[in-house]
Amino acid sequence: MTDTPQLFNRELSWLEFNSRVLGEARDASLPLLERLKFLAITGSNLDEFFKVRVGGLQLLHRRGVSRHDPSGLSPGEQLRRIHEKARAMVGEQSECYLNEVEPGLTAAGLRRVTGAQLTEKQQSFLRTLFRDEIFSVLTPMRIGADVNFPLLVHESLSVCVRMQPIEQFDGVDVPRIAVIPFNAYPLRFITLPSDGGGYDYILLEDAVCLFADRFFKGETILESVPFRITRNADLALQEEQASDLMSGMEDLLEARKEADCVRLEIAENASEELVEFLRKLLNLDPNGVYPTSAPLDMSAFWELVGISGFDELKIDEWLPQPSPEIPPTADLFEILAERDVLLYHPYQSFEPVIRFLEQAAADPDVLAIKQTLYRTSSKSPIVSALMKAAENGKHVAVVVELKARFDEARNIAWAKDLERAGVQVIYGIKGLKTHAKVCVVVRREPQGIRRYCHFGTGNYNEITARIYRDASLFTSDNELGSDAVNFMYAITGYSQPNRFHKLDAAPMTIRSKLLELIEGEIERKKQNQPAEIMVKVNSLVDPPLIEALYRASQAGVRIRLNVRGACCLIPGVAGLSENIDVVSIIDRFLEHARILYFHHGGDPQLFLSSADWMPRNLDRRLELMVPVESPENRERLIDILKTYFRDNQKSHRQKKDGSYRRIRSKKKMPLRSQEILFREAIDDSIRISQASRTVFVPHLADGESHF
């Protein structure tokens, strides 16, 4: 290989991903509220990106660090390109909203009303609302050059008000500026009385701008402008972001407060004077300012996507189907003692996962339940099943990952509930984020202890399980059970990590196992045997794994990658990667499952994994990679993987320059992978409901028998 970098830049590749999401919003064939949803996702994705990725780079750049990343770019160059690309994206997003989506919504009766458009009735309603409610909740804060800038809550909206100056300093007007932060007021969409059919609303910022003079009696208001700042996320996240670059530069972390603000989004009509004033106060580089013509914080439009009615603007709902392998009334342990069960959500319902825990909680033979939990709530049926189990005298241990600071208070509330119920709660592992999704139930049976496991690629969260595409594997395999319990003992401090029989865990062995599997394909190809790799992950960033894939391509191994998000591998380059094909599926459900396939000389090896192929997942998180062993489940996963690669509707192929092109085949039948998988789930469920119709199960008195 040559010395020139053979990787795409991770940040730019991620921005490419967000462009594909935005591409869905621009797809005129989709219903308008679905397009609005993709605009909201584009917005929240960008927020996350600035929050966790840009801050560290900005810090490095300011400190004069010029070390290049694996793609050969310095922090300064990366920042320049990021802003360039992000700015274009925001422009496209605004244009899409203002020119494509909003006019359609307005025509359909879903109207955003601004000041000039308010009817008399609506004005009167707003005046009352403002006087009785909003005025008393919002608190304006005066700021000036000599006054500390108020600590604005990250990602929340504010309105900046500029007033007529009343004094001068050295002959120059002293600006008089105040900020009205919205964080105390929860409502963004204010429903307005409407005469005709449809739904009229006004955005809070527009209402506040309209009535800003109420806060500043006797002042002349020159302008009122909504804005929003994005801060660099907390230290832990920053550590994570920068650790590939910042080893040994702890002093930089100390200085992070200087770089606190990474982005200022502000309404396009703001005066240059106001923008400059805010930018300087926030200590922000000029390229961090994002003027926009569309409403700020598009992620808030999620709320509107879920509005009741307007069915013609929405997509048909695809309801989760029951799995043919788990009839609704069946005893799960009985089924799992016989065979492994693979579920593919959300086509297949997440309900068996909840039932698994509820059954375990009530079963007198269950001795212990051990589980990882991440982002869930007190209302979650999983949490209540765990509490019930503990109350029933079972040993329940839960590893709770407290993610971001913002989540902490919410997390702690339900974690405390668990503790009160007698659950042993472990609050994460020092230095490693627990990302593995595993639940193991230890059950005493006549022939001995049996362990029932659930391994997942998604969180134990019944809400996200409706949107994320994830896989679940239930098994009572003895060795996997032993491994799962050992893994839980290791992360709960009962034992140091042992060598597992079948599982692989990060940060211990996942990377080496993957390298070994890739090398195995290379070896077989060299011996003229068939060799193939299919991988579905969310991100492919890890340089050693990418290099191994290049080697495999060079050896002639056929490699098909389905990478939803950032992919730093450059495909299709002669002599480097011509045997590698990279696609990305963006459709109504978020692709989240990690599925790995290795041809392995005709004995296909399939794995489910919680880990993406990124350094942070493989080195700094607790992750699991689980072999799928039953031939039926292996075949099903292979089918699923192959279905994606046949998609010619929602699939995008990565090109040599890092950009993507939507795959459209005029010759072939239109094929949309998510729809096919949904149809299959329906067919399966129809099959069982037809089969079950022929069986009648009478309720009998205890001990009574027909025969």
Binding site: R444, L480, Y494, Q496, M508, D603, E635
Partner: protein
């Protein structure tokens, strides 16, 4: 799909473990047990299930690092911090045991090896652990470690054709000592313990440097001294192969052998081990810890352990060595399992070893064997009625074989010398306690009955005192029955009648010599069993 792994329900053949209850085992009943091994650098626990057919199925393996050996082998006693760390670890293990509902003492065996046994403050340690966790730790000695480990690998020797009928040296390099076991096929020929272990070696040499392995030459020097002794003891015959036990060698094997799973016997070319040992010995502990993801303590023992194994194998002229995953814990579990199904083949090992000793001390083998045979018959006749555990038969038979070994020293009061010899010969397979009991049985085969003041007897529990009396009483009768030393009485039939124990001797006409001998042997039998011994020529022969 063509899959050699097949479904998850398929399991590999495993001679030792029933990893998954197979359908034919559905009817079996299993009980959960646990063994805990307090070693030199870690405390390890194995949770398992024992079926009523004696098979063992491991459920979970846990370990936590704590460097007891470092304390004991440098300062002579365990430091407070170390003791408290052990308390924390054992408390956490107790919680795990509660999860599996393993709460009764007979479900748990917890042993400690040299780093506890040799600590001056071991009693403080044992008491502290007991008061904090309720665990009764059993300090065990090296011969016990070998004996118990052997129990673990014994079924493997039966199955593994590579080991059958060849002279194999089984080596375990521990933290405090190195254990050797010489076996041929299933027979144990010899066992030895050398006070050279990895931690002991390292601690004694490492006073000056702390981040690197002590000089290889200095270590090699010490190791060579030990190997000289080993070679001397093995004699000219040498060995055909070597089996290396212990975590360090398991680690090396899993690193060097591509397809080796810890469930199989690994064949490790010595050249590769040499290379690996070189690599390890040239790195700092930090490098080893980082590169191989080992704990610091494990990194410290790895180099010396490899060096010892490598040196032994090289000096024995071998080109490879065999590696198994078997550990002390496997043996402990096997021993627990054998409480349910007493393993007679292991008794045979002990008796074979007793035979070796009998030959070494020039005993009248014909008499010894005849007394052993008669003891066995008498034992069988009394066992059920008096509830004597079948496992104690081996003590009686060992005592019977060696009851006259004291003659080798001096004929006057030889029964006391027999006890001494039995306690000090390298009799394989009996625990320290078992050996004491057997030697007391031999001691009481003649003359005075047991008295509370007698040395050794004074340390016994009530059950053990009763057992010694019972077995010694049987041995006295057996010995008396071969008073003629002609083996003319052998084919006996016994029955218990009211207050009488009748021994029918077929084909005998005159039993006066034996009758007299029984009388001379005193009243021990009647005292303990409440039965008078009656010798009777068999009715069949009379008619």
């Amino acid at each position: 799909m063509n899959s050699e792994h097949g479904t998850s329900r398929q399991t590999r053949e495993d001679p030792l473990r029933d990893r998954e209850p197979s359908p034919e085992h559905r009817a079996t009943v299993s009980r959960p047990v646990a063994v805990i091994d307090i070693g030199t650098t870690s405390i390890r626990m194995e949770v398992a299930e024992i079926s009523n057919d004696g098979s063992v199925r491991t459920l979970q393996q846990l370990f936590q690092a704590v460097n007891l050996g470092k304390d004991t082998f440098t300062t002579g006693s365990l430091q407070k911090n170390t003791i408290e760390k052990c308390v924390r670890i054992l408390k956490s293990y107790r919680q795990v045991l509660n999860e599996f509902q393993i709460t009764k003492d007979d479900q748990i065996r917890i042993v400690a090896t040299s780093s506890v046994r040799e600590a001056e403050n071991r009693l403080t340690f044992l008491d502290r652990i007991y008061s904090a966790t309720g665990f009764q730790i059993e300090p065990i000695e090296e011969p016990d470690v070998v004996r118990i480990t052997y129990l673990g690998i014994q079924p493997f020797l039966r199955v593994e054709s590579a080991l059958s009928d060849r002279r194999s040296l089984i080596v375990e390099v521990g933290g405090g000592s190195t254990e050797l076991l010489l076996v041929q096929g299933e027979d144990v020929l010899a066992s030895h313990t050398y006070r050279l272990g990895t931690v002991r070696l390292w601690e004694s040499l490492n006073r000056m440097q702390s981040t690197h392995m002590p000089g290889r030459e200095i270590m090699a020097d010490r190791i060579n001294q030990m190997v000289d002794q080993i070679q001397h003891q093995l004699g000219k015959e040498g060995v055909d192969q070597m089996v290396a036990l212990g975590g360090d060698m398991r680690f090396a094997a899993s690193h060097l052998l591509e397809d080796w799973t810890p469930d199989e016997l690994g064949r490790l070319p010595l050249q590769e081990l040499d290379r690996f040992a070189d690599l390890i010995l040239h790195q700092s502990f930090d490098q080893i810890v980082r590169k191989f993801r080992l704990s610091y303590d494990d990194a410290a023992t790895l180099g010396p352990a490899l060096l010892v194994n490598q040196t032994i194998a090289n000096r024995l002229g071998l080109d490879h060595l065999l590696v198994t995953r078997f550990s002390l814990r496997d043996g402990l579990l096997k021993e627990m399992a054998s409480r349910e199904t007493w393993n007679t083949s292991f008794d045979e090992q002990i008796l074979r070893s007793a035979h070796e000793v009998a030959r070494k001390f020039h005993l009248d083998l014909r008499h010894a064997e005849q007394v052993e045979l008669l003891s066995r018959k008498l034992f069988a006749a009394l066992r059920t009625e008096f509830g004597i555990d079948v496992r104690h038969e081996v003590l009686l038979r060992t005592a019977a074989l060696l009851h006259e070994s004291g003659m080798y020293l001096e004929s006057s009061g030889y029964h006391k010398h027999s006890m001494y010899i039995m306690l000090h010969c390298e009799l394989f397979g009996l625990s320290r306690r078992g050996l004491l009991l057997a030697s007391l049985v031999a001691r009481y085969h003649r003359r005075a009955s047991p008295k509370p003041t007698h040395q050794g007897y004074d340390t016994l529990s009530r059950e053990e005192r009763v057992l010694v009396r019972q077995l010694a009483a049987i041995l006295r009768v057996a010995d008396a029955l071969d008073r003629s030393r002609s083996a003319r009485v052998g084919d006996i039939e016994c029955e218990i009648q009211e207050r009488r124990f009748v021994i029918n001797v077929p084909h005998a006409t005159d039993l006066s010599v034996e009758q007299l001998a029984i009388k001379q042997k005193g009243s021990l039998f009647e005292d303990i069993f409440g039965l008078q011994v009656v010798l009777r020529p068999s009715r069949k022969s009379v008619s």
